[in-house]
Symmetry: C2
Subunit: 353 residues, 2 copies
Amino acid sequence: MTGSSESGHGEERVLLAHGGGGELMHQLIRDHIVPPINNERLAALTDGAMLPNPQGALVFTTDSYVVTPLEFPGGDIGRLAVAGTVNDLAVMGATPLALSLALILEEGLPLEVLDRVMVSIGATAAEVGVAVVTGDTKVIERRHLEAEGNPLVANGLFINTTGVGRLRPAVSLDVGRIEPGDAVLVNGPIAEHGLAIMSLRNGLEFESVVRSDAAPLNSLVAVLLDTTADVKFLRDATRGGLAEVLADISETRGVSIQIDEHQIPITPATRHAAEMLGLDPLTVANEGKVVCVVSDESVSMALAALRSHPLGRHAACIGNVTATQPPLVELRTRVGGRRVVPRPYGEELPRIC
Amino acid sequence: MTGSSESGHGEERVLLAHGGGGELMHQLIRDHIVPPINNERLAALTDGAMLPNPQGALVFTTDSYVVTPLEFPGGDIGRLAVAGTVNDLAVMGATPLALSLALILEEGLPLEVLDRVMVSIGATAAEVGVAVVTGDTKVIERRHLEAEGNPLVANGLFINTTGVGRLRPAVSLDVGRIEPGDAVLVNGPIAEHGLAIMSLRNGLEFESVVRSDAAPLNSLVAVLLDTTADVKFLRDATRGGLAEVLADISETRGVSIQIDEHQIPITPATRHAAEMLGLDPLTVANEGKVVCVVSDESVSMALAALRSHPLGRHAACIGNVTATQPPLVELRTRVGGRRVVPRPYGEELPRIC
């Protein structure tokens, strides 16, 4: 009794019975889910985990991941799930303390895919230096067979990660601190995650593959916050891309933001893919990019700090906050024109993260 | 622009574009998701929430909910999602501090269903006295249309709730404290959640409807723990039912457990439904039942405490821990026979919670 079925190709798959809460489920969890992420607290497999006496204020954040396909150049849903939640903690000024991991598996998911994703979760958590301390697994029925050919519905794995972090002492990240004259920085080339996924889905082949930038930013953010107290606001530019983050700042703070197209880091491969797909890179999701607002005086120190880290080597100052009213985000284009950058409306790119 | 489509019946539904991270998504979150669960911390709609200086050890737990149908006699997926995670905290001896809420919506979900579920989440959180302080929303594509008639796949809403709780001081709940001679208590009639769902799915109509017992047990557990320090172990009997909890205790602690069928509370309607469906009530999920192991001397005090609470009015002592080897769970039947209660194997009841 192996707890999994054999298909015609000898491939082991998730069964609906793996979700029933009985012996089969125990096998699945013990053989496939726990080993790559094992640690003392998780191994107890109780209904929750103890966090002994954390000091100071805590930060609490949750995200579900429904990306399709599950594996893509530069990452997979597991790396995304760990990095994404860690990044939410990091941009709030918190050091990750513990993660929870909740899996919804679709019947028929090849166990080798699950195994690769779990290994990726374990490796990314180790990269961050955080443990997955509690979890949950559910199994849902297979979707209609006709969905098999459709990459948007053929997948069968959703992940929720929720994180608890300790707020760094003396950090004051608050959109309310942003003032006209402040500078807007980004840690590297934009739009890579979204275009990696969309190129794959559209079967586009380019000379150079666009790879997702999915990465945990906690150590990059730590280097930046250790360097200067003049960091006023951080936000990871995920769904909705750079445009969404800048729209949020502009709306919430009632300021305008002017960005320079020729200052925004983007690789030729990404730009080419965006053109082929008719997408505006400003609105495309990143999974390893953070927008930093710092005082004008701190720009060179902040850039030097970012560039000292492997994930910030191509950091750039892309624009400035201005007092122009009404509040809007404006792009100075390469050819010297100007255009308003609207908040993305949300019609494109389902299941990008 | 209402941010939602009109079907032929004028019914507003979730659109894939609601998940794109743009303007439409903001509308969905502000109009349909935040209002019923609103509180100061959640309203900020930042990527996470601050928990200011919690004292002592914390408990951290996560669960995803995939129950189908979404609404059933006695509850809905929202009540289940709040109660289930709160119950995991409660049985670990923790007082709930904060919840996160992550929704995966399927395109086409009627917004009025979402609205009812959100109201139920808000009401259950208020009943517990805990706030939903952070959240996430994703939208996935509609499943194949042919799935529409199939209640197992026609639903379109998955919920993850993750909870942080403060460990009560001086509580020592540990399966290692269980000794032969201890008593096993349950706070009321078993198997109601699972049989409510299965009866509904099978279209069974009985004279009296089986209603789910879904309920948050934090205040019941608090009354019990305030009464006696002789509570050694608590576990909510969810997937796999009473049989699963008892199998866990027996295996982990290396003891046997003898239970008496005629002492186990069960309503006639539940028993009848179980017979019709060919299910063993011992293996059927509960969502408002806790198994308590207490020292033999404390049984009457513990029962009185449980019975003083509306959710424990029918509490009963159902059996005892024994030293019999090898460790197993044994049932004395109504007619005086004995049978071994195995760990449920997990083939039945997908998407029960």
